[in-house]
């Protein structure tokens, strides 16, 4: 097989699996319903519970906490979405579907790539919902629509990278409950000990050190600077380095786990 046709099959295999995962979403209307309600719930709760306490103490363009919050909470929701990648793969594994795929002469990465891509498509849907509700609560792109779109892309790109981490956890843990637990243990410290919901300056020194140097802070700061037109303090390129690093490490690692699964 020459390189061109091998590349073609990489894409067509990945597309076949992506389509399969998207069909699943379409056939699960209740899943779509709660996938829409959950981000709205988080957005509304965080905005009104924390908004009063935090909003007054921070300098936010437009003066509203929602402008600070939305990039952070969107990142959190998209990481929750990424978690589904691992859970879905673990479920496919216990259902024997992964065995079928592994016995086919298809590309080794397609099952994982198809899943992470389908989850990215769903993330677009989540982003649209959150931006719509956010705008009702007063969120605005302060630096123009192009940068606004760039903000969404930054978060989606991070979501795609995080899906590969979750994919590895799913393949590695092998069952749905472990995959879910493992992802939670990863997501919570990353999201809460970051600049996602509050500025990190009020955290204790040791926690600030962690918060200032971990990817979720870079993602939310990068996204925020794009949405609000504030200086990014180098967050954008640090975010890009992190995403590249995650993909370089976790794509091969998850494909390895997929191949070696028994």
């Amino acid at each position: 097989m020459n390189i061109a046709s091998s590349l073609y099959y990489q894409f067509s295999d990945t597309w076949a699996i992506t389509k399969r995962n998207l069909y699943r979403y379409l056939r699960l209307p209740r899943l779509i319903f709660f996938s829409s309600v959950q981000p709205i719930m988080f957005l509304v709760l965080f905005n009104f519970v924390f908004g009063g306490a935090i909003g007054s103490g921070t300098k936010i363009p437009g003066g509203k906490y929602i402008n600070y919050l939305l990039p952070g909470i969107l990142t959190q929701m998209i990481m929750f979405g990424g978690m589904q990648t691992g859970i879905g793969l673990a479920r496919d594994m216990s259902a024997g579907i992964i065995d079928r795929f592994r016995s086919l002469p298809m590309s080794r990465g397609a099952v994982l790539a198809g899943r992470t891509l389908a989850d990215s498509v769903r993330n677009v849907f989540v982003a649209v919902i959150m931006l719509s509700v956010g705008s009702l609560l007063g969120f605005r792109f302060h630096a123009g629509i192009l940068r606004g779109i760039a903000m969404v892309l930054v978060i989606l790109l991070f979501g795609f990278a995080f899906s590969w981490v979750a994919a590895f956890l799913g393949m590695f843990s092998g069952d749905e409950e472990t995959a879910q637990l493992a992802s939670f243990v990863l997501i919570f410290p990353l999201v809460f000990a970051s600049a996602a919901f509050v500025p990190i300056q009020t955290m204790p020194h040791w926690l600030q050190k962690f918060a200032a140097n971990q990817p979720v802070t870079f993602v939310t700061n990068a996204a925020r600077s794009l949405a609000l037109g504030t200086p990014d303090g180098g967050a954008i390129w640090k975010f890009l380095v992190w995403v590249a690093g995650i993909l370089v490490v976790f794509i091969p690692l998850s494909i390895y786990a997929y191949r070696k699964h028994s």
Partner: protein
């Protein structure tokens, strides 16, 4: 050298400290149904997973049509189809979408995959259910769809891992019919089963496997000969009929009929079950004896294990947890 359909040579596989396969050597001729018979945890699934490139052996080699499963798994995957114990089809896709997707993953063109899906669904009597999601399918329909998915790539070798386990007798017969049709197309089949009846009915050659070892191999008739074959058993009303009955039976039995302790139950080994039963009835009628009970016993998997290992198959399955810890079927 003849090319075997598949070949396992002294294959060993451990899971932790449990030996799932303990030096298995098997060779199958092309174009036949090869039955792998054994209880739960015998190593059947492990062997199938190995031959279908899902597992690598710890020691020994395995080949499919002369291609090593470890060194050239992709080439093997192009020649095989796999239908597992658990119907590995997607619940939320329709029957058609499932088969079409697998066709695309076998790298058929969109047109070919479409055609293949239609043909297979037709052949498997699923055409009417093609546009329904698999969630709405019955167990038998799922198995048929799973079988269909394994056939998409026109495999030369088909691995069927307990394809009928858990199905009702009618559905099982349906599936047997489909499997027989397949072999007419020249496909080699490796069929694993817990049912002697199934191996007997379908397989040209049978290997009996237990605790990761092949303990007997041969045609169904060869294995049965080893086991003593079918027996007819009947019970008399009165003991005084016994000599007369024994005399009548000795004429047709290939081995001496035996009586139990009470002398009322007589066991007659026969070479062909149903014909033997008719012959026994005829002889009893001629002798004017009316039995109080009459039955035909065919050797069961229990009998196979009893005679081959001296241990009942059912006790293997129901051993204390500690003894079968981590055993995989």
């Amino acid at each position: 050298m003849t090319k075997f359909a598949f070949e396992a040579d002294n294959v060993v596989k451990h899971f932790g400290d449990v030996k799932a396969l303990d030096g298995v050597t098997l060779r199958a001729e092309p174009g036949k149904i090869f039955g792998l018979l054994g209880p739960n945890g015998a190593g059947k699934t492990t062997l199938v997973r190995m031959l279908s490139t899902l597992l690598t052996p710890d020691a020994g080699t395995a080949q499919v049509l002369g291609v090593d499963v470890v060194r050239n798994p992709d080439k093997v995957r192009r020649m095989i189809g796999l239908a597992g114990q658990f119907a590995a089809v997607d619940e939320y896709l329709t029957g058609y979408e499932n088969i079409y997707m697998v066709g695309r993953l076998y790298h058929l063109s969109a047109q070919e995959a479409k055609k293949r899906a239609k043909t297979l669904l037709e052949q498997l009597n699923l055409a009417d259910a093609a546009t329904r999601t698999v969630r709405t399918y019955s167990g038998g329909m799922r198995r048929r769809l799973d079988l269909g998915a394994s056939l998409v790539g026109h495999p030369e070798i088909l691995f069927l891992d307990e394809p009928t386990t858990g199905l009702d007798p009618r559905t099982r017969l349906d599936l047997w019919g489909i499997i027989r049709e397949l072999i007419a197309g020249g496909t080699t089949i490796l069929l694993t089963t817990q049912y002697l009846e199934e191996a007997d009915e379908l397989a040209d050659k049978i290997a009996v496997i237990d605790r990761g070892k092949v303990i007997a191999e041969g045609t169904s008739n060869q294995l049965k000969a080893k086991l003593g074959g079918d027996v007819v058993e009947f019970e008399l009303h009165k003991l005084s009929d016994s000599p007369k009955a024994l005399k009548a039976m000795s004429a047709l039995a290939k081995k001496q009929p035996t009586t139990d302790e009470s002398g009322l139950t007589i066991t007659v080994p026969v070479s062909n079950g149903s014909k033997g039963l008719l012959a026994v009835v005829r002889e009893l009628d001629k002798a004017g004896i009316e039995p109080s009970a009459l039955s035909l016993h065919r050797p069961s998997l229990d009998d196979v294990f009893l005679s081959l290992t001296g241990e009942k198959a059912s006790t293997v399955a129901s051993q204390p947890v500690a003894a079968k810890k981590g055993r995989r079927s």
